[in-house]
């Protein structure tokens, strides 16, 4: 599935700068309409450690009403969070009607990082997939809108970005070390492929984004969001497209 993506897709920076203004304006209008309609929106980002999820989240959050938008940076569960069923910490992060929640990594950690770190025993894996799909279907049935992105980069691009990050002068480094995978590219790739297969369902399909070229990825993320929102808001479609 991921192997078929064409990672050579590119967008020139200059062209991106031109498109960005229009696209963000459109997203802003659509997000406002979604808030007006009382739709709770959950946008999930998963992908490689160097896929630069942060910049895509920033672009989207710039379009949302800051008072009604939260960004959740999901990393390993805290000791206190381990005293509850694993989904507990995500239920606690649910947005209210008309609010937006952006997830920089999400409940999918369970079947990616936590699986590879052997925190989830293999026999429990089918249960994790089931819990995830049930969770998303429950929310969708209740009117939640879920948008799931997988930001994909090639092995070579990842290597290049990680060494560039490591060479940055100290102090200017983002605290990226904790995000860097402690297992190989192919192990993570395999887990990701499996995850995409088991958790794509009608109410919450995955949007695969070719992210080797940053401007292209940004454009894809924003235009997909606009497309999905416009579909969901037929009345808004006429007004904003």
């Amino acid at each position: 599935m991921l192997g078929e993506l064409d990672l050579d897709k590119k967008l020139k920076r200059k062209e991106w700068q031109q498109r960005r203004v229009v696209l963000q304006e459109r997203c802003r209008a659509l997000l406002a309409a979604a808030a007006e309609a009382g739709i709770p929106l959950m946008i999930v980002f998963e992908g490689w450690d160097a896929a630069d999820i942060g910049s895509s989240i920033t672009l989207l959050s710039e379009c949302a009403d800051p008072a009604r938008c939260k960004i959740w940076r999901v990393r390993a569960a805290l000791p206190a969070e381990r005293n509850y069923p694993w989904m507990w910490r995500f239920w606690c992060k649910l947005p209210g009607r008309g609010e937006v929640a952006l997830f920089d990594r999400s409940w999918y950690r369970r079947v990616l990082a936590e699986r590879l770190e052997e925190l989830v025993p293999e026999p429990e894996l089918p249960r994790a997939y089931r819990d995830i799909v049930e969770f998303e279907q429950m929310l969708a049935a209740d009117g939640y809108l879920l948008l799931k992105y997988w930001l994909h980069i090639s092995r070579a691009e990842r290597k290049r970005r990680l060494s560039a990050l490591a060479e940055r002068p100290a102090g200017r480094n983002l605290p990226f070390e904790e995000d860097v995978l402690s297992y190989g590219y192919s192990a993570y790739l395999q887990a990701a492929e499996e995850m995409l297969q088991h958790t794509a369902h009608e109410q919450a399909p995955w949007h695969l984004v070719e992210a080797d070229n940053r401007p292209y990825a940004w454009w894809r993320v924003l235009s997909t969001a606009a497309e999905v929102l416009a579909q969901r808001l037929p009345q808004a479609k006429g007004a904003y497209s």
Partner: protein
């Protein structure tokens, strides 16, 4: 086949018999909190029934016999705006007890298929879907090792309107049929006699925790990571490895 109509509602228990029978389970109830902590299990107790006075009496009774340091009561009347603006299971997820703690829900997620159904708040497909969602929710709790005890307080319905009473009976019947699962069964507390009801509830709590301790229930989930294992994992992890 209707379950509820076959229940004997005339059970009573004298005060003396109540005290006598309570004796042996007192010790179990006293140790309940430390036992839950040792096993790393949370305990969720649900009290549902049309008679709010009876519900409150049983909340009081549980409070008298359980250690307040590990015990919380949640009433849906206390829910906030934040709870109301989200998925209907959200307020309950948010209020789940951690390992070693007990939460008593005086009315619960079942309100969707009981009171809200009878009141006609939702189209049929919404409350129908809730049976499945509730079972999924409770299965996630018990997968984790949570003990789930659900009491249906079945006595004379205080509702004056006979037409509503019929709807309520129907809703209760269907709820019991669709949500009595092996991992989270309903316990029916019959009649209006307070001593009988108290003893039945306390005994069920004591018995369930006893059964868990004897290994009659699946162990609690192993998401807990020992500190030394975490340290080892950190050491294994080399940033920048490609």
């Amino acid at each position: 086949m209707p379950v509820l109509s076959q229940i004997n509602l005339n059970r009573t228990l004298s005060a003396a018999a109540y005290t006598a029978q309570l004796g042996p389970i007192r010790a179990t109830l006293n140790r309940l909190c430390s036992r839950l902590a040792e096993e790393g299990r949370p305990l969720v107790i649900v009290l549902e029934g049309w008679d709010s006075t009876l519900r409150e009496e049983l909340v009081k009774c549980l409070g008298e016999h359980l250690d307040a340091s590990c015990y919380t009561v949640h009433r849906i009347a206390d829910f906030t705006e934040e709870d109301a603006s989200r998925h209907y299971l959200y307020p309950f997820w948010r209020r789940l007890p951690p390992r070693g703690y007990i939460a008593v829900f005086e009315q619960s997620w079942y309100r969707r298929v009981l009171g809200e159904r009878v009141a006609g708040l939702w189209p049929e497909e919404v409350w129908r879907r809730a049976y499945r969602e509730i079972n999924q929710f409770e299965r996630q709790l018990t997968d984790f090792g949570t003990l789930v005890l659900k009491f249906w307080l079945y006595g004379p319905d205080p509702e004056p309107d006979p037409a509503v009473r019929v709807l309520r009976e129907l809703a209760a019947e269907e709820m019991l049929l669709k949500t009595s699962t092996l991992n989270a069964p309903w316990v029916i507390v019959e009649g209006r006699d307070l001593n009988w009801a108290r003893l039945k509830v306390l005994r069920a709590v004591a018995e369930l925790s006893g059964r868990a301790a004897e290994g009659g229930l699946p162990p609690s989930a192993t998401t807990e990571e020992a500190p030394e294992e975490a340290a080892r994992r950190k050491a294994r992890k080399r940033p920048g490895k490609m």
